[in-house]
């Protein structure tokens, strides 16, 4: 249960980190809450680690008029506690409360969780649901922005290239008149979700639904985004019937069986949690309009 030896590098700038990553073909260490157990169990033995923890300026949380921007060292706990981010986009805090335990959130980073691309992780799904962006830097090709629609390639696999450092992520604010929610079932609170569902519902001034979408975790190799607008569009919030939306979700997911739950049980959870998440997001939209 000890990691294999590796060369340790401690850059003090992003440019230096990108150079070291390319030169060593190593891995980036930020929070390490997924990487270190993987190394301890010898599931991975990178030859080198490039430690971002001593690069200044990467832990910022900037809430602008359009988005919440975070850096590669923004810890889950810091983003969860940030009131400006919560006011602009409550879904961030709602989902972060399901990310592991508080102790893990004190060290783990949100960008790191996104880059790790675990199909059971909450924040990749939140980024996908909101149409967010990952900012990456390579020493050879410079900076690029990667849309969340292109970012998640497969289980534990992102579009990030081996020589790219993910330096930031952007979560666009949900549109006006919208509400959001996160619903999840796990064996114990803080464990990986058997299924989790993030939802975003947008109402117009007549309180009719103009758009609705959900993003599910643990039911496929990547976060599964399903636009259910057609199943509900034009209906007022109190007359909506989500049955058709549940069918769309059921057709989009491909859950697997494991020690924690059968595929059939996950499929059942996906339906139930999707219904709950959409109802909660709709209620949230009404509450926010009224406030």
């Amino acid at each position: 249960m000890k990691p294999a030896p590796f060369a340790y590098h401690r850059p003090s700038t992003v440019a230096e980190a990108a150079q070291l990553l390319a030169a060593t073909q190593g891995k980036i260490l930020a929070g390490g809450q997924s990487l270190i157990p993987i190394m301890s169990m010898r599931l991975a033995s990178p030859a080198a680690l490039v430690d971002l923890n001593h690069v200044p300026g990467l832990a910022a949380i900037d809430v602008t008029s359009t988005a919440v921007h975070i850096g590669a060292l923004t810890r889950h706990a810091a983003l969860e506690a940030n009131d400006a981010a919560y006011l602009a986009n409550p879904l961030l805090r709602r989902a972060l409360r399901h990310v592991a335990h508080a102790t893990i959130r004190n060290r783990g980073t949100t960008v790191g969780s996104i880059v790790h691309a675990d199909p059971a992780a909450e924040m990749p799904a939140v980024l996908r649901l909101l149409g967010g962006i990952v900012e990456a830097v390579s020493s050879e090709r410079g900076h690029r922005s990667i849309d969340s629609a292109d970012f998640f390639v497969g289980p534990l696999e992102s579009a990030l290239q081996p020589d790219e450092v993910a330096v930031a992520a952007t979560f666009p604010h949900p549109p006006g008149g919208s509400g959001s929610s996160w619903a999840e079932i796990s064996r114990r609170h803080g464990d990986y979700g058997l299924v989790g569902v993030g939802s975003l519902v947008v109402l117009d001034e007549g309180r009719r639904i103009t758009s609705a979408s959900v993003c599910l975790i643990s039911v496929g190799g990547t976060p599964v985004l399903v636009d259910v607008t057609d199943a509900s569009s034009g209906t007022t919030y109190d007359a909506v019937d989500w049955t058709a939306a549940l069918e769309l979700v059921d057709a989009a997911i491909d859950p697997e069986s494991d020690i924690h739950a059968t595929a059939a049980y996950r499929r059942q959870l996906a339906r139930v949690l999707t219904g709950r998440a959409l109802a909660q997001a709709t209620a949230d939209a009404i509450a926010r309009v009224a406030a």
Binding site: K2, Y8, H101, A102, H189
Partner: protein, 172 residues
């Protein structure tokens, strides 16, 4: 930063400075040395216990800059310069039992004691932000720590009792 190599393995060694329980410490460790092992093996602070060693059980929880963190999920070299509190630092300044330790004794909140250091550090930090927890909040606060003896009832009671003791001690 790299200052030497281990003559037996040729593995590079790094100089690390930590402030542990208020005491300045210097150590020379390979990069792969977990903070939990650095505390136990290099600094001989064996109060921090190592259970699962992959972040699940919570026994190795220490405070880094006051925040509960799994010491088995941090490399010592990466914590260079940090201020760390272990269970040995959760005493009163005069060396008597700290408020959380006293509450564990009062409530019989430990049996074998293996998980206790992780609970003590976690609860010590929790009470800083939540001075008056309800029983439900206390249960939530210890959700990241496993105990195989007690069934948790007495630990939940000890969280509430520790808050009481802290208020009493602050008032006097």
């Amino acid at each position: 930063m790299t200052t030497a190599s281990d003559p037996a393995s040729a593995e590079a060694l790094h100089d690390v400075t930590l402030t542990v329980n208020g005491v300045f410490q210097q150590l020379r460790v390979p990069a792969r040395r977990l903070l939990s092992d650095a505390l136990r093996h290099d600094l001989r602070l064996t109060g921090t216990h190592v259970g699962c060693e992959h972040g699940v059980c919570g026994a190795c929880t220490v405070l880094i800059e006051g925040r509960p963190t799994r010491s088995c999920l941090v490399f010592a070299v990466s914590a260079d310069g940090a201020s760390i509190t272990t269970v040995e630092g959760c005493l009163e300044p005069d060396g008597t039992l700290g408020d959380v330790q006293q509450a564990f004794q009062d409530c019989h909140a430990l049996q074998c004691g293996f998980c206790t250091p992780g609970f003590i550090t976690t609860i010590t930090a929790y009470l800083e932000d939540h001075p008056n927890p309800t029983e439900d909040e206390a249960r939530e606060a210890i959700g990241g720590n496993l105990c195989r003896c007690t069934g948790y009832q007495n630990i939940v009671a000890a969280v509430v009792r520790a808050a009481e003791i802290r208020r009493e001690r602050t008032a006097t």
